[in-house]
Symmetry: C2
Subunit: 286 residues, 2 copies
């Protein structure tokens, strides 16, 4: 469906075939986008950005973009990373300003750099960090786009305790939409839930990668604990049961923001990409 | 023009004349409002809120509201305070939820309480705190509504140093639109400028009260220092010159948020209101 699904195709090496691979560091307000991935007739971040890149670089065709985290409709990003292979670029340092003039106010390209050899925005990534914001207090209208209002009181310490039961390397099939031939084993490095000084409950979660809807499904389970509908051990029990549980509802998208993508040092980029491809036989949509 | 101008009229005491004075703690995203104060044919916070109160309490007429800080078009609030005098209210604790059902997503009433005797949202206030957000980096699209993008690099420590020259009790005529009979003397308790970890430059300013446009005019002077167009002592020199300086441009409204209003303890409310009325002969629009 999207370029990122074609993980059997070898990535064009930076500078190979007369092409330069550019790394784009970007952010967006997902409210008015139908997610990252191109869909005919819909406004998507991928299409919006790819068209701006084509115009800025006077490319004959709209280029393919590869992204670290293919966010769903309504999900935001502050630390998204993408790459694009383009013919030799003159005046790279002027590109962010050119793009700023072409892009709408809800997408920003923070930085454009020539990617290190072996870099692949998706497969070289060694970690992704997401944030989820939810409030059981009257919400701040200025943050209503990235904060979910919750109609019942939330017990943040109980959510944090429940979250600990999900951390580690596990088969997250219970929190993933199954895809044939794709592993649902992931390493959840951390998942913390805290109430911030302004009262907003913020979950921060980090893993090597996430499968589709995984963060929002885990948040759904933690919110059930937070409002006292389920006991604290329940999210961990669902995990160990190993299959999708209809009692877990997927939390709303607009509380979710991709805040950071980790890459290994330059000399390990190609090895990381090879390892990722080997582990995930079929395309994991993260 | 607005109710808040009528400061010679005695305030209706809480519970007096069969009326109850309610204190409303509220916030709003000012982006799509033409400011706080009612203006015929325009969408204002005052009108929107007053109509919701009338509907929630089934009042025959839209009530007058009095507010601590009459914000301009595009200015936001997280800690605004207003009062309204209404007939005896049944089930006060259900009122915030009722109002939430009536108000649009860009206004929230966080709390409704019966005001202490002598309370006046405007004249009892002993302090107001505003925040101004500006960034010289590619802006976060999720914060574009309350953060001004600045096209040139800013020296935040220089702005902070310049800010120190404005603190204290002064005649702020240089930073105020003059109004006949109104004093422009204010006590600026603090004004700090810091670059936050995410790179956004945030100014926080606190005073007993501000005159119209004062925060944005002071920010305009500090931004001139920040981008190196003026030396650090310049904002203080403008202050001491004592008259409006055409070289000071008023900074854009959407970086500004009223974050807090201070009131003295309950037993000093009436005394504070009397003092404020005495000091400010003519209506200071703050």
């Amino acid at each position: 469906m999207t370029a990122a699904d074609d993980n059997d195709e070898p990535a064009a090496p930076s500078g190979g075939g007369g092409l330069v691979r550019l790394r784009l560091d970007l952010g967006y307000d997902g409210t008015e986008f139908s997610g990252w991935a191109r869909q005919p007739g819909l406004r998507t971040v991928e299409e919006t950005l790819a068209r701006a890149v084509a115009t800025a670089l006077r490319l004959p065709d709209v280029p393919q973009l590869t992204v670290a985290g293919r966010t769903d409709a309504g999900v935001h990003a502050t630390g998204q990373v993408a790459h694009v292979d383009v013919p030799e670029v003159a005046e790279l340092d002027r590109l962010p300003r050119k793009l700023a003039g072409l892009l709408p106010a809800d997408v920003v390209v923070r930085r454009v750099t020539v990617a290190a050899p072996g870099f692949d925005a998706r497969f070289s990534a060694s970690g992704r960090r997401y944030r989820y914001r939810v409030t059981d207090l009257p919400p701040d209208p200025l943050r209503r786009r990235d904060t979910v209002g919750w109609p019942r009181p939330l017990d943040a310490p109980a959510m944090d305790e429940a979250a600990a039961g999900l951390v580690g390397e596990h088969d997250f099939a219970a929190y993933c939409r199954p895809r044939e031939g794709a592993t649902t084993v992931r390493t959840l490095r951390s998942l913390r839930v805290e109430r911030e000084p302004d009262g907003v409950v913020v979950a921060t979660v980090e893993a090597d990668a996430f499968c589709h809807n995984q963060v929002r499904a885990m948040m759904g389970a933690l919110l059930a604990v937070g409002e006292g509908r389920r006991p604290t051990p329940w999210p961990g029990e669902v995990l160990r049961a190993g299959k999708r549980d209809s009692a877990v509802s997927v939390a709303p998208p607009h509380g979710l923001t991709l805040v950071h993508v980790d890459y290994p040092p330059a000399d390990e980029l190609a090895a990381q990409a090879a390892k990722t491809r080997r582990i995930r036989r079929a395309p994991p949509p993260d």
